[in-house]
């Protein structure tokens, strides 16, 4: 007979494993099903290993600029690509082991294998030891997503890379084409450029990192160009031919002129496709463009079947997946009779996004443009890091903070940062937004001196025409 759980989670990424832990904390009997590696894309092939690579690039950058800090390095400074990749894989492996430990600690049953729904709350798992049948009172689908292939060329791992190949290169590319300038594309462009590779980025829209505020896109464009990256916006790759020596790419530039260029390798970073085919979802859930449609707590249209994370509508980010996991687990516990739990739906306006290129980007909420489109009368201000003492002391005076307020109510609508350490700083604005701050409380907040975070304060002041240090 099938084993019976309170909750089975299908997929162990940051959505799934967090949902499982929260369920276990609330006393549920929980199982998790995974066909590849515990921790999902995020820990094994996404957020974490890329940040490890980017850290090596950052340290390389520091060493190369040691003289600016009064240091002398006598000999050659070199990146050992194998060692850099090995470190990144080691970090991923350590975290994967960490999740294994968390499953054990929380007494979550791990079923390794390919899961398939046989009903809203039952599934089969095909693993090494054959097929098992599992049943539960509730099932959360957290199967995530994968890289989207180019329509005219499949990633082959040799010359045409997805992120998986790009983070485990066997040789350094000579000349790299990055297709797509979202977070993933830009992070790899930044990494390989720092490693000394000749990098070209092609973006179809009229600016890079197009979900960010226009000022951020413009600033980053300038900065990356100065660092030696070739950027083509409003341009499209129309065809790719790969052979043993490299790739030939037909690129249409923004004036409509098509020309062919050669590269040693190319990375496709044009978006994701949810892992929702052939797992029995068709009749159980409403689907749109492959994404599972859910209510604010993660419910599908079938009682007992839930979905979270990258296989549901975006933003496709790890922290969004994890929070949805917590919400769904709590809502399930509530349905199972727990009266002390109070699930709260995620407020999509308060989900930050970060890109760990150099310089870093971090933002939350509406861009100035989007706020105006939404009909707000906007008060926006900017503060450049060149007016910030800590940024100057760090030798990181490149960057700015921008804030967007509703002129009528003082509501903080959005915040946008580019520069050193901003990925660690944006949470201050997220806390503020979650607490429904107005400009007044942020003006009264005492940001410590000297920190780059003071630029957050100054940006708020600037939005109301009263910045102090500019």
């Amino acid at each position: 007979m099938a084993e019976k759980y309170d909750l089975i989670v299908l997929g162990s990424g940051p959505g799934g494993y967090v949902a499982a832990i929260r369920g276990a904390q609330l006393g549920l009997k929980v199982a998790i099903v995974e066909r590849e590696l515990l921790g999902g894309i995020c820990l094994n092939w996404g957020c974490i290993p890329t940040k490890a690579l980017l850290r090596s690039a950052e340290i390389l950058h520091y060493a190369q600029n040691a003289k600016d800090y009064g240091l002398k390095i006598a000999g050659e400074i070199e990146a050992d690509l194998d060692a850099v990749v090995k470190r990144s894989r080691g970090v991923a492996a350590q975290l994967n082991k960490g999740v294994t430990g968390l499953m054990k600690k929380n007494k979550i049953a791990v079923h390794m294998g390919e899961g398939k729904l046989t009903g809203p709350t039952s599934l089969t798992v095909k693993g090494e030891k054959g097929e098992e049948k599992l049943e539960a009172k509730h099932v959360i689908v957290a199967t995530g997503a994968r890289a989207r292939d180019l329509p005219f060329a499949k990633a082959d791992g040799e010359r045409i890379w997805t992120y998986r190949h790009a983070m485990t290169p066997k040789e350094m590319p000579k000349k790299l084409l990055v297709i797509g300038s979202g977070a993933i594309g830009i992070e790899f462009a930044s990494f390989y450029n720092d490693m000394g590779v000749d990098v070209t980025v092609v973006e179809m829209l009229d600016r890079i990192v197009p979900v960010e505020d226009k000022d951020v896109s413009a600033f980053l464009h300038k900065s990356l160009t100065k660092q030696g990256i070739t950027i083509m916006t409003g341009a499209g790759v129309e065809d790719i031919k790969a052979d043993g020596k490299g790739v030939k790419a037909k690129i249409k530039d923004k004036d409509g002129k098509v020309s062919e260029s050669e590269f040693s390798h190319c990375i496709t970073a044009i978006g994701i496709v949810p892992n929702t085919e052939n797992i029995g979802l068709e009749k159980l859930a409403e689907m749109e463009k492959g994404f599972i449609q859910i209510d604010p707590y993660g419910r599908t249209k079938s009682k007992g079947l839930w979905a979270i994370g990258d296989c549901t509508p975006g933003p496709w980010l790890a922290h969004k997946a994890s929070h949805e996991g917590v919400t769904a687990a709590e809502a399930i516990a509530q349905e199972l009779g727990n009266k002390d739990v109070h699930p709260h739906p995620l407020d999509r306006r308060n989900i930050p996004g970060c890109t760990y290129c150099h310089p870093q980007i971090a933002s939350v909420g509406l861009t100035e443009e989007k706020a105006k489109e939404a009909g707000y009368d906007v008060k926006a201000g900017t503060f450049p890091f060149i007016g910030n003492g800590k940024a100057i002391a760090l030798g990181e005076a490149e960057g700015f903070t921008k804030t967007v307020f509703d002129a009528k109510t003082g509501e903080l609508l959005g915040a946008h940062m580019v520069g050193a350490e901003v990925t660690e700083m944006i949470q201050g604005f997220v806390v503020g937004k979650t607490l429904e701050t107005t400009e007044a409380e942020l003006m009264q907040t005492v940001f410590p001196h000297p920190t780059i975070s003071e630029s957050m304060h100054e940006s708020v002041l600037a939005s109301y025409g009263r910045a102090l240090h500019i």
């Binding site: 002390d340 739990v341 109070h342 699930p343 709260h344 109510t409 003082g410 607490l435 429904e436 107005t438 007044a440 409380e441 009264q444």
Partner: protein, 67 residues
């Protein structure tokens, strides 16, 4: 309980209060529409509810409930 919708004023308008002020008011059984806010934009803050007396029977003090 802290997820209770913002207390409506008599005229149905939303009351702005800090989360801490809301929770203390709840624990004391205070009606926030009777409280004048001294914070920015008239927001009701802790200091505004701390000294005030509860109008309705005070709820027993709950530990910060889980979200």
């Amino acid at each position: 309980p802290q997820k209770a919708p913002p207390a409506p004023k008599n005229d149905g308008e939303r009351i702005f209060a800090s989360p801490l002020a809301r929770r203390i008011a709840d624990q004391k059984g205070l009606d926030l529409s009777d409280v004048k806010g001294s914070g920015p934009h008239g927001r009701i803050v802790k200091a505004d509810v701390e000294g005030a007396e509860g109008g309705r029977p005070a709820n027993e003090a709950k530990p910060g409930a889980v979200a």
